[in-house]
Amino acid sequence: MKRSLAALTALLLALSASACSGDDPEESGPVTLTLAGWSLATTPEFKTLADGFRAAHPDIAVELKEYDASNYDTQMIADLAAGKAPDIYVQKNLKNFYTYQNGKQLLDVSDVAGKLGAGVGGLSSYQVDGKTWAIPYRQDSWVLFYNKALFDKAGVEHPDGSWTWDDYGTVARELTTKLKAAGDKALGAYQHTWQSTSQGFALAQTAGADLQSGDFGFLKPYYEKALALQAAGAQVSFGDATTNSLTYQAQFGKQSAAMMPMGTWYIATLLSQQAKGDADTFEWGIAPAPQATKSTTGTSATPVTFADPTGLGINPKISERKIEAAKSFLAYAASADAAKALAGIGVTPADTATAADTIFTLKGAPTDDLSKFTFTRHDTKPENPVSKYTAPLQNILKDLHTAVLSGSKPIDAAITEAQDRAKNEVLSK
C-alpha cells in the first residue's frame, strides 16, 4: 500500500511537472515564424501569404496556428496574456486594436510602414503617437452587390453609380413590386442583421459624425430609411431575419434579394459558392454603396464607404533573432506581389489598384466597368475608429440597433437612451 501511495504521488508530481515545462526557445537553427489565422479550411488567405512568402524567402518557414473565427480576439487576448501567442498575429478588425496597442502587445513596425507603396489603404488607423503598430494586408470596403439577372427580370435598369440612399430605396421598392408581378418571390433588397449595415454608413458618410462625441443623432436618417424599407416589404424584417438565422450568403446567393450592401470579402465567398453549387449561378456585379448626398455620387467622384482594414502585428515576446524575418513577412504581406496573390483567391488586398486586373479575371467575376470602378475607387473610413471608448460604445449602439429595427423602441427615444448610457457608462470614465 505504501509503495502504491508513493507511486501515485510520483505520478502526480510528474504530471504537474510536465504541464509546467514544454517551453522551447529554439535559439538556433533555421527561423520558423508562427502566424495566427482562423478557420484555415475555409479561409485560404493565410496559407496564400505563407506560401508566397516562402517562395521569396526559402530559408524561413511559416507555421500557421488556427483560431476560432468568431472568438478570435478573446482567444488571442488570452494567449497573449499567457505568453503563448504566435509571433505574428492578425488584427481582425479595429475594435480591439486599442486593447492590443495600449496593452503593449504590439511591436513598433514604423520602419516597415515607411517602405510601403502608396497604394496601401488603411495604414493610418494603425498609427498611434507617430508610430505604426500593424501593417494592413487587406482593406475591404462595403459596396452594393446586385443580381443582374433579377434586375433584368424585373425590367429595372442596373445601378450606374449615381445613387443616394433615397434612390436605393426607390429601386428596392420598384424591384419588389415588379419581381412579384413577374412571379418571382425575391425582394428588392436585403439588409443583414449586423449593426454596421446602418451604423457603418451613417458614421462614414455623415459630415462631422463622431462616435466619441457621444452625439448619435447622425444615425437617425439611416434607421428611418431602413425601417421604411421593412415596412414597405422591400426587405425582410429584422425580426424574421434574426429568428430564422438568415445568412446573407443564402439571401443573395440563392436569389432571395436583388441587392445587398455588403463588404468586398463576400466576393471570394460568392465566387467559390457559385463554383461549388452552394449558390445559384447568375450574373452579378458590384456598384458603389449608395451615398448620403449627390455630391459623392457618379464615376467622377470618390464614393464614401466604410470597413476596417485587416492587418498584421508582431508579438513583442518574439525572440530577438526572428524580428527581422517577421518584419519582412509584414512587408511582403502588404506588397504588390501579395496583393496579386490575395486577389487570385478573391480576397480584397490593401492595395486594390494593383489587384483589380487579377480579381476580375477570376472565373465568375463580373467584367463591367462599374464593378472595376467600385473595387478600386473608394474613400473607405474605419468602422471602428481607434479609441479607448470604441468597444463599449459599439456595444451600446448594438443595443440601439436591435431595439430600433425590431420596432421595440422609436428611433428618437433609442438615440436619447444610447447618448445617456454613453455619457454615464463610457465617456465619463
Binding site: M1, L5, L8, T9, L12, T74, I77, A78, L80, A81, N96, T99, N102, G103, K104, Q105, S237, F238, G239, D240, T242, T243, N244, S245, A391, P392, N395, D399, L400, T402, A403, S406, G407, S408, K409, A414, D420, R421, N424, E425, K429
Partner: protein
C-alpha cells in the same frame, strides 16, 4: 499492559493509513478543484477592487468599481432582468416539474416513454433548442403566432423580437428545457413516500387534494428544498440560453447579469469591473441560498 499499548499503536497506524488512502482518493479531484476553481474564485475577489485589462498588472482602485456600478444603469437593468427571470422561472419550473412527476408516477401504459419524452429537452443541445424555438417564435411565419392568429388574436406578440415579450419567451423555453430534469428528482422523491401513509389517508376518507396536501407535499419537503436551491442558483446564473436565443436583445430587454459580466470582461476587456459584478452576483446567490437554508431549518424545527 504491553498488549493494550500494542493494539493502540496498531490501531493508530491503521487510522493513519486509512486517512492517507482516503486523501489519495480525494487528491486528484481536490487538486483540480483547488487549482481550477478555488484559486480563480479567490483571485476574483482581489480583481474586483482593481482596474485590469488582462495585460500587465492590475491597479488597485479600492471601491471605485462598486461606486461605478451604483451609477451604471446597464448594471441595474441586468439585475432587474435577472430577478425577473428568476421570479418566474423558479415557481413555474417547480410547478410544472412537480405536476409532471405526479402525472408520471402512476402505473400507466407507456409511462417510461412519456418520462423519456419529458426528459428529452434537457439532453438536447441548447443551440439547437434556441434555433428551433426562435423559428417557432418568428413573428412573421412562426407556427406559434400562426396558431394565435387562427384562434383570433389580432396582434400576437413579437416574442424574441419585441422588448416586452422577449423575456417571457425566454422563460417559457427555460422552463420547458429544465422541467424534465427536475421531474426526475421529484419522481425519485415520490418513490420514497411510504405507500402506507396513502393507505391510512384513504382509510381516513381523505380526498385526492387532501392526500396531496397532507402526505405528498410534506413527504417531498427535502426534495422540494433541494430543487428550489438548485433552481435559484441556475436562474441567477442563466447565460447560455439568453446568449443563443436573444443575445440580450432587443435592446437590453433580456440582458442578464452573467451576460453583462461576459460583455464587460471579454468584449470590453474591463476585467476588474467584470469581477466586481461577479462578486455582486456571487453575493446575491449566496444570500438567497442562506435565506433558504434558514427558512428550511426553522420549518423542520
Amino acid at each position: 499492559m504491553t498488549t493494550i499499548a500494542d493494539t493502540r499503536r496498531r490501531r493508530g497506524r491503521v487510522v493513519a493509513r486509512n486517512t492517507a488512502v482516503g486523501w489519495s482518493f480525494l487528491l486528484p479531484n481536490f487538486a483540480g478543484f483547488v487549482i481550477l476553481t478555488m484559486v480563480p474564485v479567490v483571485l476574483l475577489f482581489y480583481y474586483a477592487f482593481t482596474e485590469w485589462d488582462v495585460f500587465g498588472g492590475a491597479t488597485w482602485t479600492g471601491l471605485d468599481n462598486f461606486r461605478q456600478m451604483a451609477r451604471d444603469t446597464s448594471f441595474w437593468t441586468a439585475l432587474r432582468n435577472t430577478l425577473y427571470y428568476a421570479a418566474f422561472h423558479i415557481p413555474l419550473t417547480l410547478g410544472v416539474s412537480l405536476g409532471l412527476a405526479l402525472l408520471l408516477n402512476r402505473r400507466l401504459r407507456g409511462v417510461a416513454f412519456f418520462r423519456t419524452v419529458a426528459f428529452f429537452p434537457y439532453i438536447t443541445s441548447i443551440v439547437a433548442i434556441a434555433q428551433i424555438w426562435n423559428m417557432l417564435f418568428s413573428p412573421g411565419f412562426g407556427p406559434v403566432n400562426e396558431v394565435l392568429r387562427w384562434i383570433g388574436v389580432d396582434h400576437p406578440p413579437g416574442w424574441t423580437t419585441s422588448a416586452d415579450a422577449s423575456m417571457p419567451a425566454v422563460i417559457v423555453v427555460g422552463t420547458w428545457r429544465y422541467m424534465g430534469y427536475y421531474m426526475l428528482l421529484f419522481l425519485a422523491g415520490l418513490q420514497t413516500i411510504p405507500a402506507q401513509l396513502y393507505e391510512a389517508a384513504l382509510v381516513d376518507g381523505a380526498s385526492a387534494w387532501q392526500r396531496f396536501r397532507a402526505v405528498t407535499l410534506p413527504g417531498l419537503r427535502h426534495t422540494t428544498f433541494f430543487i428550489t436551491v438548485l433552481l435559484t442558483i441556475e436562474s441567477f446564473k442563466v447565460l447560455d440560453l439568453i446568449l443563443v436565443m436573444t443575445d440580450g436583445g432587443p435592446g437590453q430587454s433580456t440582458l442578464v447579469l452573467s451576460q453583462y459580466i461576459f460583455q464587460k470582461g471579454f468584449e470590453e476587456n474591463q476585467f476588474g469591473y467584470a469581477s466586481a459584478v461577479s462578486v455582486v452576483l456571487f453575493a446575491i446567490c449566496f444570500l438567497v441560498t442562506v435565506v433558504q437554508f434558514v427558512v428550511n431549518k426553522r420549518r423542520s424545527a
